[in-house]
Amino acid sequence: MADTTVPAPSFALGETIDRIRRSSEYVVIPLLALVVSAALFSLFLLALGKDPVTFFSLVWKGGFGTGFSWQNTLVRSSPLILAALCVAIPARLGMVVIGGEGALVLGGFAAAVVAIPMVSWSPTFFTLTVMALVSMLVGGLWIGFVGYLRHYRGINETISSLLLSYIAISILNFFVEGALRDPSDPNKPSTMPIGPENMIGPIPGTSVHWGLVAGTIAAVAMWVLMNRTTFGFAARITGGNVRAAMAQGLPVGKLILVSTALAGAFAGLAGFYEVAAIHGKANASLIAGYGFTGILVSFLARHNPIAIVPVAIFLGGIEAAGGLVQRRLELPDATVLVLQGLMFVVLLVSETLYGRFKIFKAKGA
């Protein structure tokens, strides 16, 4: 009896090594893609007569070099985490939803609007809770509608979600420049401010708001949901093969609706934090492109909710450094967009490398 249990530890060790070896493929290949895109971007800069070394050191300095830049980075990464979850959750079901921008804008707008009649009488905590819930509800319905259209009407979710983003932005502009415009603000068409006393303060000792914590908790919760529950298991099967999932009797429609609604709720929550912690009101500043950068974050993280957090911080840092790069190197503000687009393309090209390297294969497999 005792003898048969002896080899067990070494067997487990071998298995662990194999596991690391296999999963490291998902880290090494995206990193390789990042290095290649950095190299290509360096060539692009050289062709324009700019120094790539200066560029990347400025990105480092502006994004991660000082305590101040770190805080700036983290403030930007919080909506990115939530917007990326809006891509990652439906992606597990094999859907490519790219309309997080719309849910973010509309969620933030709804949160700001619901606060207007409340600020005069409601205690801060209650106001903020209602705002957060409303933003999640609106975002959830918005992207949930995309899921509904996909499953029950057969409409491609990529196209419908992007169309809905444009509609959401029009809705915001329509009300902010019309019925709900704050007449006392002559500068930028905005809704009535929620008031400084109702704003979410920073995490003590920093200038970073609590959205970062909420985003991280949401990411961990989604990882648990997708990897450790029957719901997540059913979702992954559906993502692998819808017909097989239906043949197994899985409630595919319900899975799609719940996942897209959850996804939209997170994007809406990102809008809530932008309103309640940064702007204090809803206006065109909500249309900052977080929803689109979130797509790249999710793809870079291979739609793994936990991996989204560091990737969002990484891309948030690059965006935070945009201003510094623009001033010092006299490059247009779209420089960051070019770098992001290049990263995205190279990353997708790198998808073809999976399974081609022997080193990542388990021994005996």
Binding site: I98, T158, I159, Y166, L331, P332, V338
Partner: protein, 306 residues
């Protein structure tokens, strides 16, 4: 009085439909060709924006708007070729690549276009088709761009070619069944590469129309989703180039609604009417697509309708 207002709006919509539809038409024909070969290119939105920027920049630098159109076409072709070349790699998803190309193309256009937001470039001339009428509004409405006429000719030519030529058959076979095409000795990847490149060329030309004719200047908000709506338009048109033309006119009219109402002094709800083309696209997709039956005329290899 009311009547004058209504006819002005209708004429403005007709004029708008003709003007606004042209970029839709070019992108839709490009996408139609790409999709007929079995691939979808969502990146045409980025191609359109980059084409608009390139055409404007070239027109400003050289003084020749037609050279700008040509360069925009070739730039679009380069983007299409990139999409086509990447998609042939194993394990790469054409929809995801399209999204990436959309962001990449837009980023590059904004990057190089920064310097051209202020300057005024020579614009494309128009053809006066309204010489026979005394009604100045109608005459104005019938001032059309040569690209619109080229687009119509192209739609007819593509419709004819898909039905009657060897090339048309090869593209259709590739799109309907890659194994069947392989069995016929067709190089599937090459056909799709060429179809996507040609589609990119047309989308680039569509972009040139935006910056060189209507609205007629280069701004970063020049195209907001026209490239993407064109993709939806192709589905609505059931992959028929002639139907693409009709659908483009319809989309153009929807896009012209806001400005047309503005021209008679109705400015309330401008943003609301701005949303009209997107809402209409969505409604049309809802009405014309059913999950229960496959779409008539849909290329069998297309991932978006599978």
């Amino acid at each position: 009085m009311e009547d004058v207002g209504l006819s002005t709006v209708l004429l403005a919509m007709l004029a708008g439909a003709i003007r606004v539809s042209t970029p839709f038409l070019f992108v839709a024909l490009g996408e139609c060709l790409t999709e007929k070969s079995g691939r979808i290119n969502l990146g045409l939105e980025g191609t359109l924006v980059f084409g608009a920027m390139a055409a404007y920049a070239i027109s400003f630098e050289t003084g020749s708007p037609w050279l700008g159109v040509l360069v925009a076409g070739f730039a679009g072709m380069a983007f299409g070729a990139m999409h086509g070349a990447i998609c042939r790699l194993k394990g790469v998803n054409d929809i995801a690549i399209g999204i990436a190309m959309m962001l990449f193309g837009t980023g590059l256009a904004f990057f190089f276009g920064k310097a051209y937001i202020q300057p005024v470039a020579p614009r494309l001339p128009s053809v006066e088709l309204g010489f026979w009428t005394d009604n100045p509004h109608l005459a104005k409405a019938l001032e059309v761009n040569p690209l619109f006429l080229i687009g119509i000719a192209l739609a007819v030519a593509m419709w004819w070619a898909f039905k009657n030529t060897r090339i048309g058959l090869v593209v259709r076979t590739t799109g309907d069944s890659a194994p069947a095409a392989l069995a016929l000795g067709i190089n599937v990847d090459l056909v799709r590469f060429l179809a996507t490149s040609a589609g990119g060329f047309l989308a680039g030309v569509g972009g040139a129309f935006l910056s060189l004719y209507y609205p007629g200047s280069w701004t970063e908000g020049l195209s907001s989703g026209q490239g993407l709506m064109a993709v939806a338009l192709v589905i609505f048109a059931r992959w028929n180039p002639l139907a693409c033309f009709g659908a483009a006119l319809l989309f153009g009219a929807a896009g012209a609604l806001g400005p047309a109402l503005q021209s008679v002094g109705i400015t309330r709800g401008y943003h609301f009417f701005n949303a009209a083309p997107y809402a209409m696209t969505l409604v049309i997709m809802i009405l014309s697509i059913s999950p229960k039956r496959s779409l008539k005329g849909a290329p069998g290899e297309l991932s978006i309708t599978k």
